[in-house]
């Protein structure tokens, strides 16, 4: 077995752990973490593909490397957005008025439209 194959298999394993985590994650943080593991696994498989494609004087195919860099930055953006939503959710749940009954009513209010965001305090 060669290093690219070994790390390709590791990528497969990380992807599997990520998929499992996304399916069973009990809280949103768990699922965000699982998403990042899955991303790491996908990128690693791509890295193995890149290393196998070494040639023409390069130790690895540069195209997948560039794509993985793009992918990592996109995954970070996704994480930042998800965490911002998660924090907002935690803040809303911590409010005294956020009893379940009120939550159910929020939908009707929501359809009124044109309400200032966050204006339900």
């Amino acid at each position: 077995m060669s290093a690219p194959v070994l790390f390709g298999l590791l990528g497969a394993a990380l992807s599997a752990v990520g998929v499992y985590g996304l399916m069973v994650g009990r809280d949103a943080l768990a699922r965000i973490l699982a998403f990042n593991l899955l991303g790491g696994g996908v990128f690693l498989v791509f890295g193995a593909v890149a290393r196998r494609g070494a040639g023409a004087g390069f130790a690895a195919d540069p195209v997948p490397q560039a794509l993985v860099i793009t992918g990592i930055v996109v995954a970070f953006s996704a994480t930042a957005l998800a965490v911002a939503l998660l924090k907002r959710l935690a803040a809303l749940r911590a409010r005294p008025g956020a009893a379940p009954a009120k939550v159910a009513g929020a939908q009707a209010e929501g359809t009124k439209g044109r309400v200032q965001p966050g204006g339900d305090a």
């Binding site: 290093a3 599997a16 009990r26 699982a34 290393r51 965001p117």
Partner: protein
């Protein structure tokens, strides 16, 4: 021998990943995840992808970890749902299937591997760049990179949109609620200038050796955040014209250069002959600034009710 070391590295990553997915304390999981990121950085070096290794450590582990730590601190663990044993088994089966299928594919990949490396070698001299990865990012697949800067911008708009409209010119909450301690202050005073230098070097060297706008921008963002955590600089209000221009500079300078390419070189995102490297570096300066500012703002989160 080196394969043995690689195998140990792989097992460490796997163990840390299982720890991340295992549940329990949020902080512990996030720290384990950052460990996965650092180890993955080593693996990328072993895969001869140093540019990716730098990105993985700076963005995938470092800044992502910072964001996740905030989530662990802010959101108490809420068990949003309880899943039964049967569901666990199903999910485990799905995971196993994913692993088995991917493993088979990895083992059966064609030999010799198809690769675009020869095409890149043929085309790279026309770009005057020494680093093939930068060549792919900024020349051959410039559209992807342009869109990636847009993705960051849209993500920032999305994060800001979580705040009420009236907060759109205010500042995000500081990352570090307690008053800064002496140790942090000292660390920031010494490390921020060094780190800023490293960030600028990473971007500058990226044309010819591993590094580039994304890696350099991430390091600069981390240094800005550190300065803010130590209280050396205030958290900026998001309404300032300078800040907003800095956020827009990268994507729209890139877009502008792309449109100029239509008139000067005959195709969108083509660079005028003889000036390729100059124009590419100029675009990279703008992108680096925007990435640094945008990443830092994404970490800081939506503006809060506080006036800066």
């Amino acid at each position: 021998m080196s394969l043995l070391l690689d195998a140990i590295l792989a097992l460490l990553v796997l163990a840390a990943a299982v720890r991340v997915a295992a549940g329990g304390d949020g902080f512990a999981r996030v720290v384990a995840f950052m460990g996965v990121g650092l180890l993955l950085g080593l693996i990328w070096v072993r895969l001869a992808a140093v540019d990716v290794a730098l990105t993985e450590v700076a963005v995938g582990s470092g800044i992502t970890g910072l964001v996740l730590l905030q989530a662990a601190a802010d959101a108490p663990l809420t068990r949003e749902r309880e899943v039964g044993l049967l569901y666990h088994l199903c999910a485990g089966m799905v995971g196993l299937v994913v692993f088995a299928a991917l493993a088979v594919v990895v083992l059966l990949l064609p030999d010799p591997a198809p690769s675009l490396a020869p095409d890149v070698v043929r085309a790279l001299p026309a770009t005057d760049l020494g680093n093939p990865v930068t060549g792919v990012l900024l020349v051959f697949r410039a559209l992807d990179t342009l869109l990636e800067t847009m993705v960051l911008l849209v993500a920032l708009i999305g994060v800001w949109s979580l705040s009420p409209d009236r907060h759109w010119r205010r500042a995000p909450a500081p990352l570090w609620p307690a008053p800064p301690s002496g140790a942090l202050d000292f660390l920031a005073r010494v490390l921020v200038p060094i780190g800023a230098l490293v960030g600028i070097y990473m971007f500058w060297a990226g044309a010819d050796v591993p590094g580039g706008a994304f890696q350099g921008g991430a390091v600069l963002a981390a240094m800005a955040l550190m300065a803010m955590m130590a209280g050396l600089s205030p958290v900026p209000a998001i309404g300032g014209a300078g800040l907003r221009l800095a956020v827009l500079a990268g994507p729209f300078a890139f877009l502008g250069v792309g449109i100029a390419g239509w008139f000067l070189a005959g195709a969108f995102l083509d660079y005028p002959e003889g000036f390729e490297k100059t124009v590419i570096i100029a675009v990279e300066v703008a992108i680096t600034v925007s990435i640094a500012v945008t990443l830092a703002l994404l970490v800081l989160g939506p503006p809060m009710g506080r006036k800066a």
